[in-house]
């Protein structure tokens, strides 16, 4: 990244922090309602330094990574079937939409009951939440593959497998990765929600602890910032992957 692109990003950050500080000063809010930015920053550093944050973040990252991969793989497969088979679409789409319309917040306690308070229930929740956007974007991507390219494949006697690997997937890749962009930020939400429904460790647990038994509001804010940063970093990872895979076309 060039300096030219970094300057506006830095500027926006300065404005954000200044506004935050101004609200605290003008509104006269106590630290347990809205701690000032410097206090949150200090707590952020100390929580990372003493290993608290890292311990919880590691758990959450693992849940997100596993859930995202499982959900994405299933979603790409199902999305392909939805695009290519009218029967599959008719059978599955009502359930998919219904599942998507049910708030994950309402499902999380049930999933915690079924799959326990460990890793598995969070992986399931993350997988569920990333599934829909990726399945839909895969379906749309595969459906919009240029029929003329498929005809080219046919004229060159491409097998079904070759059509899938050399035409359909590369052509649908920008769309699939677009769904993954949405999916990866949702996976963060899924992990935190899952942890709220029952867990021993994780950033969602830490938010609860900081607000409740620890009553360490600056730590709660520091955790929220960590969660937000995690979402941003994961999003950037997908964008970078997109740039490598799709590149200049």
């Amino acid at each position: 990244m060039t300096a030219q692109r970094l300057v506006p990003i830095g500027l926006a950050l300065v404005v954000f922090v200044a506004a935050w500080k101004a609200i605290v000063v003008v509104g006269g809010y106590p630290p347990f309602i809205l701690p000032p930015p410097e206090e949150v920053a200090a707590r952020f550093v100390s929580a990372w330094a003493d290993g608290t944050m890292a311990r919880h973040a590691a758990v959450t990252i693992q849940e997100i990574a596993l859930g995202f991969v499982v959900g994405a793989v299933l979603a790409v497969g199902v999305g392909y079937l939805l695009a290519r088979s009218a029967l599959v679409e008719r059978l599955l789409s009502p359930y998919l939409v219904a599942a998507q319309a049910t708030p994950i917040l309402a499902l999380a306690p049930l999933l915690a009951l079924w799959f326990g308070t460990g890793l598995l229930s969070k992986v399931v929740i993350c997988a569920l939440i990333v599934f829909f956007p990726i399945a839909v974007s895969t379906m749309v991507g595969i459906r919009s593959v240029d029929g003329r390219l498929l005809e080219l494949g046919r004229s060159l006697r491409a097998t079904r497998r070759q059509v899938l690997l050399t035409l359909e997937i590369p052509a649908a890749l920008p769309s699939i990765l677009g769904g993954m962009r949405v999916g990866v930020t949702l996976a963060v939400v899924g992990a935190i929600v899952g942890e709220w429904a029952g867990a021993e460790r994780g950033l969602g647990v830490l938010v609860n602890l900081a607000r409740g038994s620890l009553f360490d509001i600056p730590l709660m804010f520091a955790t929220l910032i960590t969660i937000a940063l995690l979402g941003v970093v994961l999003y950037l990872v997908v964008v970078l992957a997109e740039r490598r895979l799709v590149g200049v076309r």
């Binding site: 003329r148 080219l152 060159l156 491409a158 070759q162 590369p170 200049v248």
Partner: protein, 293 residues
């Protein structure tokens, strides 16, 4: 009968032993809402190995449909296509196809696009690479193998598409209005290049075009199709020596041939399916080839 200059300008290639097409009584129907549409009705054509044939006809005469039948992409309701005595039922490695638009895969480099048929056919990487180099040189794109299709002009993209269609050394090359998107000057240049390519590869060429001068300049025979349902109304031999240069376009024989083709187009346009005298013209031409070969 015109004597064609032997394709020996470049030593690398051999004269074609194959590429004889027999198109027998082709009929094609399309299902439309409100009934069946007969696109082709009893198209009969004999094309000798190494011959260049232009298909011309009014819109909706089924020129492109006929080309799709020959390429094996479309199965006719009646009739068959034989390549060197073999009936074609599906796309065949012996038949290369160039579409109206380049249809390059935007995510592949130009070289990878040209090598795509070899990829599908399972060629080993090193063998593929040397064949791709050869093909890029053949169409004058050796500098652009690493480029993306989007970085190339429309004409260069179509050249890459032609190189791709030649990858598996087909004995027949089918072109569906390949230069219709190019400007007039580029188009003339491409016609010369196509003839040069033909001289070097010796493939049989069947080209669909809307342009009478283009058809006459390129072809040994100009086959005129009627309006729907398409059938052969005339088979006009082009009395022009080879190799041909653009100067040939000024010859009297060219304008005479063009006038003849235009006249047949006019009759084909006016009347429908039962144009038997025109069918007889086609029959005469066919027997003339058989007598000559």
């Amino acid at each position: 009968m015109t004597v064609r200059a032997a394709p020996t300008t470049v030593a690398r290639t051999v004269p074609p032993p194959a590429g004889h097409l027999a198109i027998r009584e082709i009929a094609v129907d399309f299902e439309r809402t409100g009934g069946t549409l007969r696109a082709l009705d009893g198209v009969d054509l004999e094309i000798a190995a190494g011959e260049v044939v232009a298909l011309i006809g009014p819109n909706g005469s089924g020129k492109s449909t006929l080309l799709r039948v020959i390429s094996g992409l479309l199965v006719p309701q009646r009739g068959r296509v034989e390549l060197d005595g073999r009936t074609l039922t599906e796309p065949d490695p012996g038949v290369g196809l160039v579409f109206q638009e380049p249809r390059l895969l935007p995510w592949r480099t130009v070289a990878a696009n040209v090598g795509y048929p070899l990829d599908l056919a399972g060629w080993a990487a090193d063998r593929r690479a040397s064949r791709v180099d050869e093909l890029l040189r053949l169409v004058g794109l050796e500098e652009f193998g690493g480029a993306r299709p989007s970085q190339l002009s429309g004409g260069m993209q179509q050249r890459a598409a032609i190189a791709r269609s030649l990858a598996l050394e087909p004995s027949v090359l089918l072109l569906d209005e390949p230069f219709s998107a190019l400007d007039a000057l580029t188009r003339e240049r491409f016609n010369v290049e196509l003839l040069d390519l033909w001289a070097r590869t010796g493939t049989t060429i069947v080209i669909v075009t809307h342009s009478i001068p283009e058809a006459v300049f390129l072809a040994d025979r100009v086959v005129v199709l009627s309006a729907r349902p398409g059938h052969v109304v005339a088979d006009v031999r082009v009395p022009l020596a080879r190799p041909r240069t653009l100067d040939a376009l000024d010859e009297i024989a060219v304008s005479a041939t063009a006038r003849e083709v235009r006249a047949h187009l006019a009759t084909g346009d006016l009347d429908g399916a039962d144009d038997r005298p025109a069918g007889a013209v086609a029959g005469d031409a066919t027997s003339a080839i058989e007598a000559a070969s």
